[in-house]
Structure formats: structure tokens, C-alpha cells
């Protein structure tokens, strides 16, 4: 059966290859378009108690059926060739860029804390490639690829990482603060959880525009990306509550890669199934295989559609994995090599490549061409960043205030920002 992608009317029959035989297919009786059912639970075998089953009536998750679907013939294609190539290119860009970051870091071109996204590309590409330019993305410190997926040029991101004035934030933000007003990337945040309220605010602004300012066609949605560690943080829960309360057009995307630096998700979380926390606040909670970009994309379509129609927020938990350490400073000694190997075998790029070829959407040559093209893009970005100048002293005091009168009135009666030395960056403020 063909997937329209917009509204999935019938739930597919449950089929699972995973443990936990106790989980029945759970439908959300309150929406007419339930997600496809899945029973995949996390690494623990848990039986759902009767009370959980009641609360869980809002929850549906994505089926393993997808995996089987992908291997079938052309009539079951999940995306067009054009979409397939677009997603593939985006994932290759993410991977190549991050690999180049690692190289550049060890060559002393970038400093500080740099957190790479290798292995999680399916989540970024799966979600962000469905967005419009006016939609917003809010991320964490692991934000390079979110920015790239949203459309921020690789040159701007690399320059920012090199601390050059041509960076997307003029070199003032760095790896953990990728912003783009043009592409509506609202950061880049160093503390976990602090971006979620900002995302909630962006969603609130969208609703405000529609209902107060009467911009009738304003249906902009916001995606908030964050990790498993953040899901134990107060700001996460506070925002789930407010988003559901006011039916804000936001999707909370949990990139559960199982590790918060060296803290395993299972050691820090009383109930590790994060998707269940959605229904506790009155929104659907969905669990999806985050190593499979097609599954992510299907869930994303549904969630984004919900938000655009004004039906409110969704919590999507993506099971994913980072192939590298938490940051380039992390020796990554705690994680079991067998676990890493298992996930490496589920590399999302390899999986998509296989799908595209087997479903005859693309051939090897086309995909190789994309890889080559991206290689050039990334090298060009490095060259551009290398040749760009560092910020001059004059930039030091700019941008502290949107209105620089905020630096106040000096002893001579004029505003500090009127001091000629202000633009040189040497004024006393």
C-alpha cells in the first residue's frame, strides 16, 4: 500500500521482531490519524502494566513494518527519487562536515568544546528536510548538522568554528551557538535544556501571529532537538506542560543516543522510555528508529502536520547513536565496543544508500557523484574559513546590545557608544 505521507488512515498490523511480546498495538483514539504501531521498546524488557496501558492510549510508535516495506518493490516507495537524493545529500554533508571538523580540531584550527553528530544524521535529515524556511529549529551544542540541514551554508558554519568574522555568528558564538536569522536556526545552546523554552517561545510566537496578529496563514512550526540527558531536566517537563496546555506548534525531538557524556541513560532515568512522558502531559509520544531516515521522515511528517493544523505538540523519541565520543575531548572509553559495533552496522547513510539502490531510485554513480560534490563543498568551506579574517578589535563591543545606548552615559555627558573608541573596541564601558 502506498503511503501518502500526510494522513495515515489505517493502522498497520503489528509485526515485531523484537522482544517484549506484552505490548499490544496502541492507538490514539483521539486523533483520526494514528501513527503506525510498533512495539519496539528499549533495551530493557518491560511489561506494561494495566495502568500504563491506560495512560499509554495516546501512544503509538512506528512499526518495524517499515523495514520490511523498504525491501519490497517500487509500488511501495516511501519517497520520490528527488526526495531520496536530497535526503542522501544532506546526510552525506552532515557526515563529511563532521569528519572534517575532527580533522581541523586536531590540526588546531578550532578550539574548545566541539560535539559531533556522526551517526545521528537520520534524525536531522529526516525531520529538517520537511520544513519550510520560515519554520524554526532549536538545537543544543551538537548543532552543526541541524544548522546545515536547515540551509545554513557550510562555509558559514566552518568559519564560525574557526572563529572568523565570516562565521554565521561573526565568530562570536562558536561551535555551540549556531544561529541563523535567515534560516530560522534559533541556536545552539551550551546548557542542556535551555533551548527548549526558547523553542516553546518560537512556537508561541507562531500561534500569537495567527491568533492575535491575525496573520491567518501563519502555520510555522518549531522543532526542538535535544538528548536523553535533557529529558531528566526540569525545563523539559515545564515546556511539555506549556506546549500541550496551549497546543503550541512544536515538536519535541529527543535524540536518545543512550549516553550523556559518560552517563548511561539507563543509569540516570527511572523510566527510560522517554516517549511515554508525552502522554503524561497530554500529547502523543512516539518512539522511532532513529537510525532509519525513512521511518523518521514518516513520523516527522505526521508530527509536523499535526502542528501545522493546530492540533498541538508531539514528543518524538528517536533511538539513535553517536559514533564518536561526546565531544572531541572525550576519550570515549566507557561505551562497550560491541554496542558501538552494533550501531555502526546500522549506519543510517549505508541503510539509505542500500534502499535507494535496491528500490531503483538511484544508482551507484549518482550517489557517488553526490559524495564527490559534498567533498568539494566541505573542502571549499575549509578553504574559505582558512582564508577569512579573524574578527578585529572593533567587533568586541558591537552586538552586546541591540541598542548600544545600553552602555550608558559617560562622565562627559555623551553616550559611551558615541565615543569614537567604541567602534575601535577600546572604549571604556
Amino acid at each position: 500500500m502506498a503511503f501518502s505521507g500526510a494522513k495515515i488512515i489505517q493502522p498497520l498490523p503489528l509485526h515485531t521482531t523484537i522482544r517484549s511480546p506484552n505490548n499490544p498495538l496502541l492507538f490514539d483514539p483521539f486523533t483520526s490519524s494514528p501513527f503506525l504501531g510498533s512495539t519496539r521498546t528499549l533495551r530493557l524488557s518491560q511489561s506494561i502494566s494495566a495502568s500504563q496501558r491506560r495512560c499509554a492510549s495516546h501512544i503509538v510508535a512506528v512499526s518495524d513494518v517499515f523495514k520490511e516495506k523498504k525491501l519490497k518493490s517500487n509500488t511501495n516507495l516511501l519517497l520520490t527519487k528527488e526526495e531520496g537524493l536530497q535526503v542522501y545529500e544532506d546526510m552525506i554533508l552532515g557526515r563529511a562536515f563532521e569528519d572534517m571538523c575532527a580533522q581541523m580540531y586536531y590540526r588546531g584550527k578550532m578550539f574548545g568544546f566541539v560535539h559531533l553528530y556522526n551517526g545521528q544524521e537520520a534524525v536531522s535529515s529526516g525531520f529538517i528536510k520537511l520544513l519550510k524556511k520560515e519554520d524554526s529549529v532549536v538545537s543544543t551544542y551538537r548543532d552543526h548538522v541541524h544548522a546545515l540541514s536547515k540551509g545554513v551554508p557550510a562555509r558559514a558554519v566552518m568559519s564560525e568554528l574557526f572563529g572568523k568574522k565570516t562565521g554565521c555568528c561573526r565568530g562570536q558564538g562558536g561551535s555551540m551557538h549556531m544561529f541563523s536569522a535567515e534560516h530560522n536556526v534559533l541556536g545552539g545552546f551550551a546548557f542542556i535544556g535551555e533551548g527548549i523554552p526558547v523553542a516553546t517561545g518560537a512556537a508561541f510566537a507562531s500561534k500569537y501571529r495567527r491568533e492575535v496578529l491575525k496573520e491567518a496563514d501563519c502555520d510555522h512550526v518549531t522543532l526542538a532537538f535535544f538528548g536523553d540527558g535533557t529529558c531528566n531536566n526540569g525545563q523539559f517537563f515545564e515546556c511539555l506542560n506549556m506546549a500541550a496546555l496551549w497546543k503550541l506548534p512544536i515538536i519535541f525531538v529527543v535524540e536518545n543516543n543512550l549516553w550523556a557524556i559518560g552517563m548511561s541513560h539507563l543509569r540516570s532515568t527511572s523510566d527510560p522510555e522517554i516517549w511515554k512522558k508525552g502522554p503524561a502531559f497530554g500529547m502523543p509520544g512516539v518512539h522511532v528508529d532513529g537510525m532509519d531516515v525513512l521511518k523518521v521522515r514518516e513520523v516527522a511528517k505526521e508530527a509536523i502536520g499535526r502542528a501545522r493544523r493546530g492540533e498541538g505538540p508531539t514528543l518524538v523519541e528517536c533511538e539513535t547513536y553517536r559514533f564518536r565520543g561526546h565531544s572531541l575531548a572525550d576519550p570515549d572509553e566507557l561505551r562497550d565496543p560491541a554496542e558501538k559495533a552494533r550501531y555502526a552496522a546500522r549506519d543510517p547513510i549505508t541503510a539509505l544508500k542500500k534502499y535507494l539502490i535496491e528500490s531503483k531510485l538511484a544508482n551507484e554513480a549518482e550517489l557517488l557523484a553526490i559524495e564527490k560534490k559534498i567533498e568539494e563543498v566541505v573542502e571549499d568551506a575549509v578553504e574559505f574559513a582558512d582564508e577569512s579574517p579573524a574578527p578585529s578589535r572593533s567587533q568586541l563591543l558591537e552586538n552586546v546590545f541591540a541598542d548600544p545606548r545600553g552602555f550608558g552615559i559617560g562622565p562627559d555627558g555623551s553616550y559611551r557608544c558615541e565615543d569614537p573608541k567604541f567602534t575601535e573596541g577600546t572604549a571604556q564601558v
Binding site: 517561545g201 510566537a205 550608558g408 552615559i409
Partner: protein, 409 residues
Amino acid sequence: MASIFQGVGTATTLSSSASFDSNKFHPSSRRSLSERKVSFLVVRSDAAKMNPGLNKIGGRADQLVTNAVATKPDTSAASTAASKSGHELLLFEALREGLEEEMERDSRVCIIGEDVGHYGGSYKVSKGLAPKYGDLRVLDTPIAENAFTGMGIGAAMMGLRPIIEGMNMGFLLLAFNQISNNCGMLHYTSGGQFKIPVVIRGPGGVGRQLGAEHSQRLESYFQSIPGIQMVACSTPYNAKGLMKAAIRSDNPVILFEHVLLYNLKETIPDEEYVLNLEEAEMVRPGEHVTILTYSRMRYHVMQAAKTLVNKGYDPEVIDIRSLKPFDLHMIGNSVKKTHRVLIVEECMRTGGIGASLTAAINENFQDFLDAPIVCLSSQDVPTPYAGTLEEWTVVQPPQIVAAVEQLCR
């Protein structure tokens, strides 16, 4: 100018029979609904008459004229306008007027906070606005300061102009993450791409036996955050003007109101006016000593000024209003004239606004000082509940008088 200070004394509330509207005074309590509903008029049992001169601490009972107006008429246009026409209102009403005018003028202005909507604000600053503008423009939030402050910041980044209310300034400690990292720094870390035109406001300061946690002075904690401005209002006139200025500013501004000043009454102009966020206010010109103060302590200073005038001194009183940045022009001109500085603040001795101001004046006007700067601050103690103890934690007029006498010796 404010003609309210008959009741301002050492230990009394700002009540004069004419101007205190007890029904409108609602202390905010975080959890207890019953406390909120009680309106009270605090009268010290040992100050039998509302005699402003009586003070128990120093034992000096200066019997001052009860109807005396605290200030010399100042020459600002505002007061002359006010004396000709204008309307009389209480400080919280002035704040509301400022809010309403700005909401009327720009539909992107909205209010976010606890009980700002249907309840009308725990100090009635936003009363009547939710019925007028709707539940989305005057948003009642759940009790989640960090999250709703961040939400206001995110909305501001996307073009709205939210006013975020902390029901008590102390509650904003829970929003410190958002205020420091996002409110203050985000414009910079985004390379100037996003501006955060929020106003964060609420009542703070030491009230009337509200207990330690409800009696905090957040201005001393927030002052180091780069990228924010802080102002403190003290009269209905400057409350309205600063509120409007803060809303119109593209910078994040923290507007500090004081729990005890909401019922001050003053006549303010009918015409629209907006004050300057970065300027200080000359309260009483003088020659002998510069007294720098803000918020509630302005009234203790003016109370002391009456005594000082009777004793033959001529203090110059400046309400600094802009806590960050300091108006070094008005302050500097005053120092150059009087050569002696007394700072009277409600912050604690350690790390308060007074400490920063002392450093700034020393740095900039060292050559003009005839004596070291004296800074009177609250004690470095959690504000006690007991009335007597509470009185001793904050600066009282007799201390101010003594300090000036010492300074001018």
C-alpha cells in the same frame, strides 16, 4: 513630584491616611491563596500616631512637620506640567497605564507571568488587561519561571515584545539560567542576528515582614550579566515613564519595582511621556553632599533630608534610577560640585549596587572627592521575619543623618 511621604518613617509603611488604599495592597505569597486575599494596612503598634519623625532605633524623635512635602520642587518639565493639569494615581496604576498604552500602540507587546491575566496581577499591575486584550496577550502561566522566561525570550527572538513578570523578583532566581545565558548573551552569541526586546519586571526589595525569601534584592545578582539593562522605579511618574521606555527598548531591560511603593500617589501628566532608561533623576539639588539612592531608599533619604535641612545641611539627592548602566554624567557633575558622596541602598553590603557604584565613582571621579565614599547598605543577613530585626537590617533615616554629619565634618 511625589507628595506622599507623610507616612514614611523609620518603621512605618508608606501610609498616610489620604493616600494609602489598603484594599489594593496584596502581598504576594507563592503558595498561600489565603494570604493573597488578605489586604492589610500595617501599623506599628509602638508608633501610636502615624508620626513620621518617631524612630525607635537611634532614640532621636525628630518631630517633623507631618504635612511637609519631601522635596524641593524640582525644575523638570514634568512637575510644572503636573502642577497645571494631569491626573492623580497610585504607582501600580501608573505602571498599568504605561503597560496599557504600549499594548495599545503595538500589538506585539504581550504580558507573560503568573496570575497576570484573570487575577489581574498579584499587585494589580495588569488588572483589566486580560479582559481587554485576551488570554494570549496577557498570558497566565503555570509556575515555571525558567521555562516561561525562556519562552518569552524565544518569542522575542521571533518578533514579539513580551513583558515577563516575576510575581516576586525573588522567583526569578529560578529563571537565572534564561536571564543570564539567553536574555543577556544571546544577542552577542548570535552575532547580532536576534534581538531580545523583553522587559522583565516585578516587585522586589524588603517589604513588611515578608520573610527572607520574599525580601530579596535581585539587582545585586543580575548586575554582572552583560547585555541587560536594569532600572528601578520609585515614583508613579518615573514608573510609567520607565515602563514605556523599557517596552520600547530593543534591549532586554529588567525593571525593578518595590513591594512597598505600589501605593504611592502622585499626579502625573495627561500627555504621553517616555523617560530615558539611562538617566538618573535629580530629586533635590544641593551643595554639601551628594546622596545617591534608588527605589524605596529614596524615601528614607528624603526623610533624613528633612532632618538635615533643619540642621542646616544642604544635601543633593539623586535617584540613580538606572542601576545598570550608571548615569555617570549626572553623578559626576554632582560629585564635582559637592566633593562628598553618600550612597544609600537596600542591597546587602556585599556585592550590591552600592558596591559597584562606589567602585565606579572612585575610578572616574577620584580627584574630586574630599572624603572617602560612604555606602550605607543593608546588613549581610537573610531578612528576618521579626519586625524589630527587619528594621535593623535595612538603612533607616537616622543612620543617613548621622552619616552625612560625619561626612561633612
